[in-house]
Amino acid sequence: MAIDVKKNLRENKGLWIFVGVGIVVAVLLGVFVAPWASSSPDGLEKVAEDKGFIKKAEEEKPTWTHSPMKDYAFPGVKSEKASTGISGLVGVLITLAAATVIGLLALGLNRLHKKRMSAEGSPDAP
């Protein structure tokens, strides 16, 4: 399935502008707003602290210890604001890529399915 990039851009100009603006908004929020977000505990954490079961999480050894940006801090960056901002940028890009890959995966399944259906339906199919 060859994709004519220029033709696609021309026909879906409005869509691509919308997508571009969406990415810019997400990056701006992640980089320039997130570092100034409230650092108070969230609803669940606060309840866990107040009711005394937060220790259950603190005592537990995490099952996944390879998170590169634990607690939204980018490793090696001293400034807390910059650290959060950079991890916000990286996170936005990772999420963008991951959701696109999942979408393409579903689209691939779709095309495979259609191909198989049409192969089964055609008289010269084996």
Binding site: E11, L44, A57, P62, T63, A98, A99, L109
Partner: protein, 228 residues
């Protein structure tokens, strides 16, 4: 309300892994019949926007903060199963790259925020919207139903989370349930505002890109392929 490791026992998180894994497989199967190439970049930006917006904790009463969930917004913009897959993506990225939510609790977090706060709340929203749109028109019906049920989505997700804590024997029902639902009914107000404002913005610029909107698309923005 991302649950860390240690809050849930094996039977609870194991069961919820099964439910969430099964729902994810079903969602991939479900969207393949209706997913078109044009929607792929929309999945990407919705996920990226939700990730960024979830970082923005806003203060609520008593030294507590809350953040946007985005499950209702994703389902309304993209369709329920596409929206669910976006939430799965966001939660997995948060778990694996940012240690936000434990790996054992990932299934539970997908259940709470993707299934209860996403799919289930979306269909409740549709139940309100359908009769309402005959009275006040499609656009007003959609916006008001979304406003109400994005609040509901956060409250239901927190209730599910509280019940899982109880079933795991972490904390008694009468201790956790009122506290969780109480604080999240405040956080839900923020959810309703952000979701409704974001939906208004998209409806103004590209109504044809809102899956749950069945009204007439603006003729000048709809491209030839989308009119049909």
């Amino acid at each position: 309300m991302h649950i860390p490791d240690g809050f849930l026992d094996l039977k609870t998180w194991g069961t919820l892994y099964g439910v969430s894994g099964g729902t994810t497989a079903y969602a991939l199967y479900k969207v393949r019949d209706r997913l078109e190439g044009k929607k792929i970049p929309l999945l990407g930006i919705t996920a990226a926007f939700i990730f960024a917006a979830q970082m923005l904790n806003f203060p609520v009463a008593g030294g507590t903060s809350g953040h946007f969930l985005g499950a209702m917004l994703a389902c309304v913009l993209l369709g329920p199963f596409e929206g669910f897959l976006v939430m799965v993506t966001v939660l997995m990225v948060q778990c694996f790259f940012f240690a936000d939510g434990g790996l054992t609790a990932l299934g539970a977090n997908i259940f709470n925020m993707g299934i209860v706060g996403g799919l289930f709340s979306y269909y409740l929203m549709v139940l309100l919207k359908a009769p309402l749109s005959r009275w006040i028109g499609e656009k007003k019906a959609l916006l008001s139903s979304v406003a109400v049920f994005s609040w509901v989505s956060v409250v239901l997700a927190s209730a599910a989370c509280a019940i899982e804590l109880v079933i795991s024997g972490t904390v008694p029902f009468n201790v956790t349930f009122p506290a969780m639902v109480g604080v999240h009914s405040l956080i839900g107000i923020g959810e309703a505002i952000i979701t409704t404002v974001a939906l208004v913005v998209v409806l103004q610029s590209r109504p044809d890109l809102v899956d749950a909107y069945r009204g007439p698309a603006l003729s000048q923005t709809a491209t030839a392929g989308e009119v049909a």
